[in-house]
């Protein structure tokens, strides 16, 4: 068992980091909304799903197949912009339709949670029953494959571990987006508003922060990150489905909690940690145990650090 683990260590680490980067980007959306509204946005997984379909639509419309070099970078940037717009836009609409009316009437957080679950089902069924069939000409419940747009060339090998182009693109893109978001929250006016609202919404209002704008921006930023994640996901696994967000959403939420919910850098750390744990655990005990291992470690970490590895700190620390 141990020998096997060592043999596969390299490949599992590369795979774990790739999956972890995607978890991390989706986790950002959970973490930001939680930081600002103390609400778990269960429909965030569907925001991600919408991003995958937006990207797939563009790939199919333009007949993109296996671009190389600069063309690939161009395609990637275009897809990311489209998916960011689609997911970000959907997140803003979601906030407008499912959360704002409740918030305005001072409903409890529990009501918003139920509304989130409802919105999640609504969006899934909307894609399954109404949108997919006419747009993609495949039955709505089917898995839909995507042509390749991220290269599979081997860049370098460590031992017999091959690091392929798409691994690097995904991890690097995730880290870049992470830095951009981090800087947005630390350095811009909107970012200051977000941090102020997270710290103390009432005082923030008294200080002249427009809460509605801040909440909308939070959803927009979180949704846009899910859009980036969606493009990277589609590039890596090359298929999507109406319920693709569900399991990934659970994992991303876990990553957010693991890193410290409400903490942006924690989301990144949590994402990578969960991706690696899953793969290492699966190599050691078999894939059937994959989630058991990952979640056992989660429980142990939360026992010693109840607020996650880096703690809850959208408001406090520099992030």
């Amino acid at each position: 068992m141990f020998q096997e683990f060592l043999n596969q260590f390299g490949t599992n680490t590369v795979g774990g980091l790739t999956a972890g980067a995607i978890y991390a980007l989706v986790a950002l959306g959970y973490t930001m909304v939680y930081g600002v509204l103390r609400l778990i946005n269960f429909a965030h997984s569907e925001i991600f799903m919408i991003g995958t379909f937006a990207a797939l639509f563009v790939v199919l419309q333009f007949g993109i197949t296996a671009p190389t070099g600069l063309a690939m970078v161009g395609v990637l940037v275009m897809l990311i912009l489209v998916a960011m717009a689609a997911s970000g836009g959907a997140a803003v609409l979601l906030e407008l339709a499912a959360y704002r009316p409740l918030r305005k009437r001072g409903a409890s957080r529990l009501a918003a949670l139920i509304s989130a679950i409802g919105a999640s089902f609504f969006l899934q069924e909307l894609f399954k029953l109404v949108i997919i069939q006419p747009v993609f000409d495949k039955p709505g419940g089917n898995q839909i494959g995507s042509p390749r747009f991220l290269g599979r060339e081997t860049l370098f090998s460590i031992g017999d571990t091959k690091v392929q182009l798409y691994h690097v693109i995904i991890v690097v893109s995730a880290i870049i987006m992470m830095i951009v978001l981090d800087q947005t929250v630390t350095r811009t006016k909107i970012g200051r508003g977000i941090r102020a609202t997270a710290q103390d919404p009432e005082t923030a209002v008294l200080m002249g922060v427009n809460i509605d704008v801040i909440v909308r921006m939070t959803f927009l930023l979180g949704g846009a990150m899910a859009g980036v994640a969606a493009v990277l996901y589609l590039g890596a696994y090359e298929n999507t489905k109406f319920d693709i967000g569900f399991l990934l959403g659970v994992k991303a939420f876990t990553a957010a909690v693991l890193g410290g919910i409400g903490n942006l850098r924690g989301a990144l750390l949590g994402g990578f940690a969960l991706g690696l744990l899953e793969n290492w655990g699966a190599a050691f005990f078999g894939s059937t145990w994959r989630d058991v291992i990952a979640f056992t470690v989660l429980v142990i970490i939360l026992m010693f650090r109840p607020t996650g590895i880096l703690g809850e700190s959208l408001q406090r620390a520099r992030a």
Partner: protein, 392 residues
């Protein structure tokens, strides 16, 4: 408003059926179940026609309808009407439908039900009413052991597939190390175990892994396969899972022969895996699908099917056609009651499109044939019977 109307309609229909039934008993020729001297019989075809698994049921239903149409064109003494009964894949719905079929439509025989769970629920009712059934696609082994006297099927049961596929691969590819991969469902795990056990008994070194079919990242499993360096990989599960695995396995540079069972015999496998990756793949199925076969009987059937339905016959299409023909030949030979059809079915022996149609005492098909298919660069083609075919 609507439910009320439907209910009223139902009552009216039931009323009509009763009066028709009375007329039939009085020596008329209206009712489907007929009796001596009937000029038209109704037979049913039952299965999931609108539910999630309709892709498995629509081809056999269409095949059956084609058979009935061809039969009626011959201007036989007794014409046949085919009626479709939709179960949406649910056993309780199947029971409702079969009751309606017997009481209202007075079916003389039934093609189906399509699935094993439906068959378990429906067949006891058919036995009580002495109505023969021929299923094109229910493959659970226990159905043949239920002692039903009016039940038949035109496909091999589940016990046949795993061992026959394993034997085929052993004979044609002589693997030394085989990797058994499966989703975590009953069907996939069971089939992988059956293939693995057969190979192990012949001295092949086996490793295995079970993967959550929903999981998107399977890199740890791919790493495991890679380090085992198998020359054969079997994947148990449905096409969305086996296709996804195939894609990632090929992308990791593993070129070993890859095989899967009847849950993957679908062009959607190629969609999920990609054309380039769907290569050097073998699929097995108790069903016989023509794809682009040039064999005369398959081509004739496929052309007629395409002309009528404007699509190629997929899974269980030929079996639906053969199941209908088994019943139609009984009627052609002069059977006009359910009981007579059942008697004639016992003696049935003709060359169907899928295979020789001849039943055992318990209703099982006489020869348990498994067919193998090959996928090359995204094209699926029929190789032939598992015990004879060669792997080109």
């Amino acid at each position: 408003m609507r439910p009320k109307l439907v209910r009223l309609g139902g009552i009216a229909a039931a009323g009509m059926a009763i009066s028709l039934g009375l007329a039939a008993c009085g020596g008329g020729s209206g009712g489907g179940k007929g009796g001596e001297g009937a000029t038209e019989l109704t037979i049913g075809v039952m299965g999931d026609l609108t539910g999630p698994d309709r892709a498995l049921v629509i081809p056999p239903a269409n095949g059956a309808e084609l058979a009935v149409e061809e039969y009626n064109k011959k201007n036989p003494k007794v014409k046949v009407k085919l009626k479709r009964y939709d179960t949406q894949g649910k056993a309780e719905q199947a029971v409702n439908q079969v009751n309606q079929a017997i009481k209202k439509d007075k079916i003389a025989a039934l093609i189906g039900p399509a699935f094993s769970s439906e068959s378990r629920a429906v067949n006891p009712i058919l036995q009580t009413n002495k109505i023969p059934s021929v299923t094109p696609s229910a493959t659970a082994t226990d159905l043949g052991k239920s002692g039903w006297k009016y039940w038949h099927r035109v496909v091999a049961n589940d016990d046949a597939q795993g061992p026959q596929l394993a034997e085929f691969v052993l004979r044609t590819a002589q693997p030394k190390k085989a990797f058994m991969l499966s989703d975590q469902g009953e069907y996939g795990v069971g089939l992988a175990k059956s293939v693995g056990d057969t190979m192990k008994a012949k001295g092949v070194q086996i490793a295995e892994d079970k993967v959550d079919a929903q999981a998107s990242d399977v890199s740890s499993t791919v790493a495991k396969i890679k380090s085992f360096q198998p020359d054969f990989i079997f994947a148990g599960g449905y096409y969305s899972f086996t296709g996804k695995m195939l894609k990632q396995i090929r992308d990791a540079g593993i070129t070993a022969l890859y095989a899967s069972g009847d849950g993957s015999v679908d062009p959607a496998l190629v969609d999920a895996a990609g054309k380039e990756q769907a290569d050097n793949v073998v699929l097995s199925c108790a069903c016989k699908i023509p794809f682009k076969s040039t064999a005369t009987e398959l081509k004739t059937f496929a052309d007629a099917y395409k002309a009528k339905w404007n699509t190629d016959p997929l899974i269980y299409g030929t079996e639906g056609y053969d199941a209908a023909n088994a019943i139609l030949k009984a009627i052609e030979a002069g059977a006009t009651t359910s009981e007579q059809i059942n008697e004639k079915l016992k003696a049935t022996d003709f060359a169907g499109v899928s295979k020789q149609i001849k039943f055992q005492e318990n209703g099982e098909i006489a020869t348990s044939l498994i067919y193998v298919y090959k996928v090359t660069k995204g094209e699926i083609s029929l190789l032939g019977e598992a015990d004879k075919a060669a792997l080109q």
